[in-house]
Amino acid sequence: MIRTTEVCRHYTRGPQVIKAVDTVSVAIAEREFVAVVGSSGSGKSTLLNLLAGLDSPTAGTIEFKGTTLNTLSRRSLSQYRAKSVGIMFQSFNLIYHRTALENVELALYFNGCPFRERRATASAMLERLGLADRMTHRPADLSGGEQQRVALARALVKKPEILLADEPTGNLDQDNAWQIMELLTDLNRQELTVIIVTHDLDIAGQYAHRLIRMHYGRVVESLTATDRGRA
């Protein structure tokens, strides 16, 4: 479904070249649940941003269903983010002055959803994630788990083909973390491709079909559940 070929993302800071992502080639199939793991600074979040079209590679190519992302115009790339990809952030990135419902609705502004359907679709998504009684609450009035579920609702409401989640459990306690992971697993079972970035190996190992381990910008290991079982 999505494939990177020799992708690099290098930053130049004066004479120094920082290789955040260096010649990474991975291929992720449809309905796969992939966890990208690694220590801080290993380049996993940068890789996720490249896959999301939020950043552009300095070398290599990223293909989504046969379309090379780094040749798309800015507007086409925006459409890719608006329709094909749902993104979750570690810090939720909810807009603090908008209610939960309005935050979710925002994702529908850019994918051509008609005005009248927008509110109903967003409400349905929040209800599905157990936030029916929290729709009119602002993020500050919600718990961390609820905020992450609002962020998940915002990522899913446009019915993306792939969900990219950057440390989805990083700011959550154990219970909320498990809840979110259960939700992602359910969604994956409903044919959603899920790619998460995490440094929590327990969670990654328990839920992901495949673990991609990164170290200093390079993929050093790619283990399927079978591989891990064998190990």
Partner: protein, 443 residues
């Protein structure tokens, strides 16, 4: 993302930052208001003055005066504004009517009040021109010989009257004390027969053989005769009276316009006063003596000169051609239309100056909007990032902020225009009232 979405998001963001939005909008309101008020004030003043000029008929009026000696040249005597000049000026193409400014000092009595005032003669045709046809009450006099008069608001003021309608139909008595040659001759005649006897006795006949004595006696007698003539001339004046019905009161007009005396008389009535004798002014006597008209005051009245002649001109004829014709005849033309052209130049620069002040305010307000938007962008960088991750492109973000600026500008402009219009209206009313209170005319 539709325009409706953009406006909704913008309005939401603006309402969230109430104080900042209020302050920015206030800046725009003040700037636009200032600009509108400045421009309105300048344009309104220009329009007001133009309307007043038009209303008073000043665009179709030209004044003609004698050239000053300097202007006429030392060797040339400046031409008099006499009846011949009046005829010549009337013949200029585009001149519909020419009439002189002809004023006399009269005593006017209304009911129990009596005072001295100036009266001005005007032909009925002049009363039909825009300059004199605007009446506050009543109508113009019916003919040049009618025993009727039209008065001005100044006349009402002199007699302490406030309602112009109240005087219509009332009669006033105009009287003039005139000195005639008859009264001078009457003084010259000996008062009684004893005077002749006394004169005869006083003569020393034996001395008449001496030329010195004869000359002294002749001078004495001549001096006494002149003294008696002059005393008779000034002390035995006749009083000429006319009872006139007030038929109209002219509209109020400010200072700085054409000369207008409190009482307007038909020309025949004025001529009666004029030809009956000489006025109180001693120079009139010397003038009559020097011109050799002391024994023919009728002809003197008809050949007299005027300080000014007013011409009613056809506005469709180029002013310059009429003005040039007047100059060629040896007179000095003055037109309010030409003066207005000069005033328009002033108004152009005045309006420009006001506009520049207003524009400075506008630029300042624009910088206020830009500052608000820059602050807003810097504060909402994270929100912009989120929107981009959700599929917004640069165009969406740009439009979003432009719409926010536009909403501020639109609200500020509408309120500012209303405010500016209101301020200009209020200022106009206050200035008008102040001018009326100070007795200043429209110009």
């Amino acid at each position: 993302m539709t325009f409706r979405d953009l406006v909704a998001i913008s309005a939401g963001n603006l309402s969230r930052m109430k104080l900042r939005t209020f302050l920015t909008v206030s800046g725009v309101v003040i700037a636009i208001g200032t600009f509108v008020a400045m421009v309105s004030f300048g344009a309104g003043n220009q329009q007001y003055i133009s309307d007043q000029f038009d209303k008073l008929g000043l665009f179709s009026t030209m004044q003609v005066q004698r050239l000053t000696k300097t202007a006429a040249g030392d060797s040339t005597e400046a031409r008099l504004l006499d009846s011949q000049a009046l005829t010549d000026l009337s013949k200029i193409p585009g001149v519909r009517l020419a009439y002189p400014f002809d004023a006399i000092t009269v005593t006017v009595a209304l009911a129990d009040s009596q005072l001295s005032a100036k009266a001005q003669a005007l032909p009925v045709s002049a009363m039909q021109t825009r300059l004199f046809s605007q009446l506050r009450a009543g109508s113009s006099f019916s003919s040049d010989s009618a025993n009727e008069t039209v008065v001005t608001p100044q006349f009402l003021h002199l007699f302490g009257l406030s309602n112009p309608d109240s005087i219509i139909g009332d009669t006033i008595v105009i009287s003039v004390r005139v000195a005639t040659v008859d009264s001078g001759l009457a003084g010259l005649l000996p008062r009684d027969s004893g005077w002749v006897r006394q004169q005869v006795r006083s003569v020393r006949f034996d001395s008449l053989l001496h030329s010195d004595y004869r000359q002294r006696q002749a001078k004495r007698l001549a001096n006494e005769a002149i003294s008696r003539f002059v005393n008779g001339f000034f002390n035995h004046r006749a009083i000429l009276k006319e009872t006139l019905t007030v038929v109209g009161v002219l509209e109020e007009r400010g200072t700085g316009h054409t000369r207008m005396e409190p009482i307007i008389l038909p020309v025949s009535i004025a001529a009666k006063f004029r030809s009956a004798g000489l006025s109180d002014d001693p120079t009139a006597l010397f003038s009559a003596l020097s011109q050799g008209t002391i024994f023919s005051l009728d002809s003197a009245a008809s050949s007299r000169s005027y300080p000014q002649i007013t011409m009613d001109i056809d506005p469709t004829v180029p002013l310059k051609s009429i003005s040039d014709s007047v100059t060629v005849l040896g007179f000095r033309p003055f037109s309010f239309a030409e003066m207005f052209e000069e005033m328009q130049k002033f108004f152009f620069y005045f309006n420009m100056a006001l506009s520049v002040v207003g524009l400075i305010a506008l630029v300042t307000a624009s910088l206020g909007i830009v500052n608000t938007m820059v602050m807003s962008i810097l504060e909402r960088r994270r929100e912009i990032g989120v929107l981009k991750s959700l599929g917004a492109d640069d165009r969406h973000i740009r439009i979003l902020f432009l719409v926010e600026s536009g909403v501020i500008g639109a609200i500020g402009s509408v309120v500012g225009i209303l405010l500016g219009w209101g301020v200009a209206r209020v200022a106009s009313v206050i200035i008008k009232r102040y001018m009326e209170k100070e007795g200043v005319g429209p110009v």
